[in-house]
């Protein structure tokens, strides 16, 4: 009941901006427009009744292969039981990203003892971007750098958007779904050159367990 009232309060405070409640099974999750993100965050932090004073986490998600499975499980197999899984090659989508990248923000209010999540989709054009909320919560600084590094999402207005976790001189954004799990390059010691050099990876991905989606869980 308290949770319902709190959601009502948030809806009331954010009534100027477009937002919708996606789920309230766990912590309430709101979908917001990225153009309104900064204003909404300002209200959530500065409003005395809401007081979301801590930004806990920022997580970028790539929806490219969402809901895709290796095996069909709702009908009998036509090919027999030794169905191995082959590595799928995912085509590049470099010009537009309609609804491909989303950012999840986890907020915590100490005075109300409550958590909410915000979800926002990035812009559609390459590179995908969202406004930075570093000025509102300073903890966003490294979380945004991480999302930029691993997912290639640009945060407009971030003071220092550099790579953070990957190697110096790394190419690509490893957590995108079209980036192979094995990576593209490996480092080896070259005996002739007497130095460490990069070369294309020599191993291939072999999924040990196929990805299946069972409908009986929904």
């Amino acid at each position: 009941m308290a949770k319902k009232n709190h959601i009502k309060l948030i809806n009331q405070k954010l009534s100027e901006y477009s937002h919708s409640l996606l789920s309230s099974d766990h912590d309430p999750l709101f979908l917001v427009e990225q153009s309104d993100l900064v204003n909404i965050c300002k209200i959530l932090k500065t409003d005395n009744e809401l007081d979301y004073s801590i930004l806990i986490d920022i997580c970028a998600v790539d929806y490219l292969t969402y809901g895709q499975a290796d095996w069909v499980t709702n009908e009998a197999t036509k090919t027999g039981y030794s169905r191995a899984v082959e590595q799928k090659i995912i085509a590049d989508h470099d010009d537009e990203f309609p609804d491909r990248f989303a950012i999840f923000y986890q907020l915590l209010s100490i005075s109300n003892n409550s958590r909410i999540s915000l979800k926002t989709f990035t812009t559609k054009l390459n590179p995908p971007s969202v406004p930075s909320i570093n000025k509102i919560w300073n903890s966003a600084n490294w979380f945004e750098r991480e999302a930029f590094d691993l997912m290639g999402v640009h945060f407009k207005g971030h003071p220092d958007l550099r790579r953070i976790l990957t190697d110096y001189g790394f190419i690509g954004h490893p957590f995108r779904k079209d980036f192979p799990t094995n990576g593209n390059l490996e480092v080896v010691y070259d005996e002739d050159k007497e130095e460490v050099v990069y070369k294309p990876v020599s191993i291939t991905t072999r999924p040990s367990v196929p990805r299946v989606i069972r409908k009986d869980n929904d």
Binding site: D27, S53, I54, C59, F104, I110, I164, T166, I213
Partner: protein, 416 residues
């Protein structure tokens, strides 16, 4: 004549860097002007690896997140899966989890205290802390078979019940029978007896550590008024755990958002006053005493309430060997569980626990498959290390070491 600032490289292999931290420091004489941490030298892409394997296969990876508080990391991951599945482990499993979370807190704080002391000149403490850690790691080993990377928590409970016997030392050409008898004095009973013996001894050992440090002039000179963080800044910088409490904010997930059975246990939350390194030291030392109290309460409950430690549902928990020999359905469940795993309903969840270092959370997203669609670890040290620039500005070079120590950082979870 003008003097330009000096750029100084620190790490990544400096012992005081607590792992693989590289700092580019801009110095004005001996005063730090700007500090740029370079991290990622231990980046293993755990979150990406979790996307290609069934849920249960990643529990072992979670041990390697924060490799000094292993079971707490598992706990958060397992909790996230359980929330998505909508299952709850039996009460005994919850008590075991809480007890091991607190043992883990002791493990973590002991390592932190030893290493932090060593960094700023208290050599002997390191040896004492590791002496006690050894006993706690024996508890890990007795219950899971591994000293560190336990993989003990499972969605729906824990891997197995507490053993009735402790592993014992045996005599060999280096250790005499007499010595072995001394070593085994607290290993004659069950694991619970062993832990109880430890919790009886431990408070006086914490007193010993405190005699070495709390009123020590050198210790105070190195920590008092170093790295002061106000409560407002602490919140703004995303601090949690002892870092937040050291600044005087009363916030502990065990109390404020209780998970498992923490709401049935009696313990106090220490907070600091001034938000400096010394206060955070006091907070952590008091947390060790409180953890001991929690462990004692868990021991009492666990002695009185035997029972199952895993849910009955064979979709998530393996059926017993014996059942499989006689029951076809159990055999099918076993096969499905170990080849394919279980599918998790669509949805997103964020599950956080009070990890020894702060709030350790796992954001888990499922599209209905047997593997997570996206898994993101919220590491407390990551947020804390991001603040090192602000905390060290204007301090001397030697104070940076105190600040790195007080942050209690571990690179397994920062780099992931």
């Amino acid at each position: 004549m003008t003097e330009s600032n000096l750029s100084l490289n620190f790490g990544p292999q400096h012992p005081a860097a607590h792992g693989v931290l590289r700092l580019i420091m801009e110095m004005d004489g001996e005063v730090v002007k700007h500090l740029d941490p370079h991290i990622g030298l231990l980046h293993r892409g755990t979150e990406k690896l979790a996307e290609i394997k069934p849920y249960n296969h990643s529990i072992g990876y979670m041990d390697r997140m924060d490799y000094v508080s292993m079971m707490c990391c598992e706990h958060s991951y397992v909790l996230a899966i359980e929330r998505l599945l909508g299952i709850e482990p039996p009460k005994r499993a919850q008590y075991i989890r809480v007890m091991f979370d607190e043992i883990t807190r002791l493990l973590n704080h002991l390592l932190w205290l030893g290493a932090h002391g060593l960094d700023i000149g208290a050599m002997a403490l390191f040896l004492y802390c590791f002496r006690e850690r050894e006993d706690l790691l024996d508890c890990y080993e007795a219950v899971s078979g591994a000293r560190m990377h336990a993989t003990y928590y499972r969605p729906g409970g824990v891997y197995r019940d507490l053993p009735n016997e402790m592993p014992k030392y045996s005599a060999n050409r280096y250790i005499s029978e007499k010595k072995v008898k001394q070593l085994n004095y607290n290993r004659e009973g069950s694991l619970l007896d062993f832990i109880e013996d430890f919790t009886d001894r431990f408070p006086s050992l914490v007193d010993e550590y405190e005699t070495l440090l709390t009123d020590n002039r050198i210790w105070k000179q190195r920590t008092v008024d170093i790295g002061v963080v106000t409560p407002e800044r602490a919140k703004d910088l995303g601090f949690s755990g002892p870092m937040l409490r050291g600044s005087g904010v009363e916030w502990d997930l065990r109390r404020n958002q209780p998970y498992e059975v923490y709401n049935e246990l009696d313990f106090l939350i220490p907070i600091g006053l001034s938000g400096d390194c010394y206060d955070r030291y006091l907070v952590r030392v008091e947390e060790m005493r409180q953890s001991t109290k929690i462990i004692q309460q868990c021991i009492k409950w666990l002695r009185d309430n035997p029972g199952s430690v895993m849910i009955e549902d064979n979709k998530f928990a393996s059926p017993k060997r014996d059942q499989m020999k006689h029951d076809m359905e159990s055999l099918i469940y076993h096969f499905k569980l170990f080849t394919e795993g279980y599918s998790v309903p669509k949805g997103e969840v964020y599950a956080a626990i009070e990890h020894p270092k702060g709030e350790f959370g796992v954001f888990l997203m499922s599209d209905g498959a047997n593997k997570p669609y996206r898994m993101k670890v919220r590491a407390p040290s990551f947020a804390h290390l991001a603040a090192i620039d602000e905390m060290s500005k204007g301090h001397m070079l030697a104070d940076v070491v105190s600040i790195i120590g007080t942050l209690d950082i571990v690179f397994g979870e920062i780099d992931r």
